[in-house]
C-alpha cells in the first residue's frame, strides 16, 4: 500500500482497536498490517494505550453525600406545591409522612414537643430539609436587609442581626420564624448558586465558642457562639464554602456585639 493509504487508515486504527469497525474495514486493515511495519507498530502503541487507559484510568466515585443531596433536590422540586397544587399536595403528604416516619414525629411542626435524644445537628438538618420541601422557606421573602430585619420585630424576644453578604456571593433570600430546640428562633435564608443556606440564630449569653463543623445526612453544618448569639448554618453547600459563609456571619455577630 502507498503512504496515502496509511494516512487514510490512520484514524481507523483506534476504532479497529475498540472493535467498532465493520467486517469489511477490519479485513482491509488486517491485510494492510501484514505488509506495513509502520502501521503495525502504530497499532501496537494503540493497543498499549488502550490497555493502559482500561487498567489505570480510575473510575471516579461520587463524593459521599452527593446521592442524598441529589435525591433531596429532586424530591424538593417534586414537592414544590406552587406548580401543580393537586399533585404536589399529595406529594407533600408523602414527604411529610416520610419525615415523620424517619424521625418518629419527635419534632414535627412548628410547636413541637421537646426533642428528646435527637441531636441539634439532626434537628436543624430536618428543619432545613423541611423548609425546602414544604415550600415554606421564608415568611418574609426579600433580598432587602432593611425589609427582613424589621420583620422580626415583635415576633421574637430578640432582634436578630441580618448580615449583608451580597458582595461575598451569598444573596439574602428572606427570613422565617422557626421553633426548634425548644425555643423560637430566627431562620435567615441565603443562597449561593443553587444552594440554599439556613442560618439559625438565637441569643446565647454563654461565652463565645469557636466555630465547629459537622455533617449529618449529607448536609454540612457550621456552628458556634459569638457576639451573644448561637448560630448554626446548614446547607448542601460544600464544607469549605459553608465555613467561609459561617466565618463571615461570625465576624458580623462579633461586630454587632461591640
Amino acid at each position: 500500500m502507498t503512504r496515502q493509504d496509511c494516512e487514510g487508515l490512520d484514524l481507523q486504527l483506534t476504532a479497529y482497536q475498540d472493535g467498532e469497525l465493520d467486517q469489511v474495514a477490519v479485513a482491509a486493515i488486517e491485510e494492510h498490517l501484514k505488509s506495513c511495519p509502520g502501521c503495525a507498530a502504530r497499532i501496537e502503541r494503540e493497543r498499549r494505550m488502550k490497555a493502559l487507559l482500561e487498567r489505570h484510568l480510575t473510575p471516579i466515585t461520587a463524593p459521599v453525600g452527593l446521592r442524598d443531596r441529589v435525591q433531596a433536590a429532586v424530591r424538593q422540586r417534586e414537592a414544590a406545591p406552587a406548580r401543580r397544587p393537586p399533585i404536589a399536595w399529595s406529594w407533600v403528604a408523602v414527604a411529610a409522612a416520610l419525615v415523620l416516619a424517619v424521625f418518629g414525629g419527635r419534632e414535627w411542626g412548628r410547636s413541637s414537643a421537646p426533642a428528646g435524644a435527637v441531636s441539634p445537628a439532626e434537628q436543624l438538618v430536618t428543619a432545613h430539609i423541611r423548609s425546602l420541601q414544604l415550600d415554606h422557606l421564608t415568611d418574609v421573602p426579600s433580598s432587602e436587609h432593611h425589609t427582613v430585619r424589621p420583620w422580626f420585630d415583635g415576633k421574637l424576644d430578640f432582634a436578630p442581626p441580618v448580615p449583608v453578604l451580597d458582595s461575598a456571593g451569598f444573596a439574602l433570600v428572606g427570613g422565617r420564624l422557626d421553633y426548634l430546640l425548644d425555643r423560637p428562633l430566627a431562620a435567615i435564608v441565603y443562597r449561593r448558586r443553587q444552594h440554599l443556606i439556613n442560618l439559625f440564630l438565637w441569643p446565647d449569653s454563654r461565652p463565645p465558642t469557636p466555630a465547629a463543623s459537622e455533617s449529618a445526612r449529607g448536609y454540612n453544618l457550621v456552628h458556634g457562639v459569638a457576639g451573644a448569639f448561637s448560630y448554626w448554618a446548614v446547607s448542601d453547600l460544600n464544607a469549605a464554602e459553608l465555613a467561609d459563609f459561617a466565618g463571615r456571619i461570625r465576624r458580623e455577630l462579633e461586630g454587632s456585639a461591640r
Binding site: E44, H56, A62, P63, V74, R84
Partner: protein, 178 residues
C-alpha cells in the same frame, strides 16, 4: 402529559433508573469541569433538568440519556464562566506541557494513574469528553455519538486524535521505536 411534577410513581421510576448512574454522571462532570465543587453542582443541576425532561426518556438503561444532560449542563456552566470549550482547537496545537514519563520505569501504579488522569484532564474538551465516555464510562461509539450529538465518524476521529495526544503526553512504546 407534559406536566412539571412527576408524581410519586414516576419519581420512584426516575430514581431507580437514574440514581444508579450517579458515579458515571459525576465522573464525566469532574473531567469536564476539572473541579470537585463545580462537578457536584453540575450533577445536581443535571438531575433537576432530567426531572423536567423525564417525559422524553424512552426507556433503556438511562446512562447515555443522563450523560447527555450532564454534558449539556457542563457546557452551559463552562460557557457561563467564559473559560469554556474553545471551539477551534481541533488540530495540531501543542498540548499543554506534561512531563514525559517513561511509564515502564514507573513503579507506583498510583503515580501512573495520576499522570494518566492529568493527561486526560489536559486534553481539549472535544477530545476529553470522548476519551472519558469511551475509556472511563465504556460507552459504545453509537452511544457517544448520541451523547455528544455528532456523527459516529466524528466520534472516531476525535477519539483517535485524543488518544494520539495521550501518546504524546505519555510516550509508551518509546523503546520499540528506537
Amino acid at each position: 402529559m407534559g406536566r412539571l411534577v412527576l408524581g410519586p410513581e414516576k419519581l420512584a421510576h426516575f430514581e431507580s433508573v437514574l440514581l444508579p448512574h450517579l458515579d458515571a454522571a459525576y465522573g464525566l462532570a469532574r473531567y469536564l469541569m476539572r473541579d470537585d465543587h463545580d462537578a457536584e453542582d453540575v450533577v445536581q443541576d443535571a438531575y433537576l433538568r432530567a426531572v423536567r425532561h423525564f417525559e422524553g426518556f424512552r426507556g433503556g438503561d438511562g446512562r447515555a440519556w443522563l450523560l447527555a444532560i450532564v454534558r449539556r449542563t457542563c457546557y452551559t456552566q463552562l460557557k457561563r464562566r467564559r473559560d469554556g470549550p474553545t471551539v477551534a482547537v481541533f488540530d495540531d496545537q501543542p498540548d499543554p506541557a506534561i512531563d514525559p514519563v517513561d511509564v515502564l520505569e514507573m513503579a507506583e501504579q498510583e503515580r501512573l494513574r495520576e499522570t494518566l488522569s492529568q493527561a486526560v484532564a489536559a486534553l481539549p474538551v472535544e477530545f476529553r469528553e470522548v476519551v472519558v465516555l469511551r475509556d472511563l464510562e465504556g460507552l459504545s461509539y453509537k452511544e457517544i455519538s448520541s451523547v455528544v450529538g455528532v456523527p459516529i465518524g466524528t466520534v472516531m476521529s476525535r477519539l483517535a486524535r485524543g488518544r494520539r495526544r495521550l501518546h504524546a503526553a505519555i510516550p509508551i512504546g518509546e523503546r520499540e521505536r528506537e
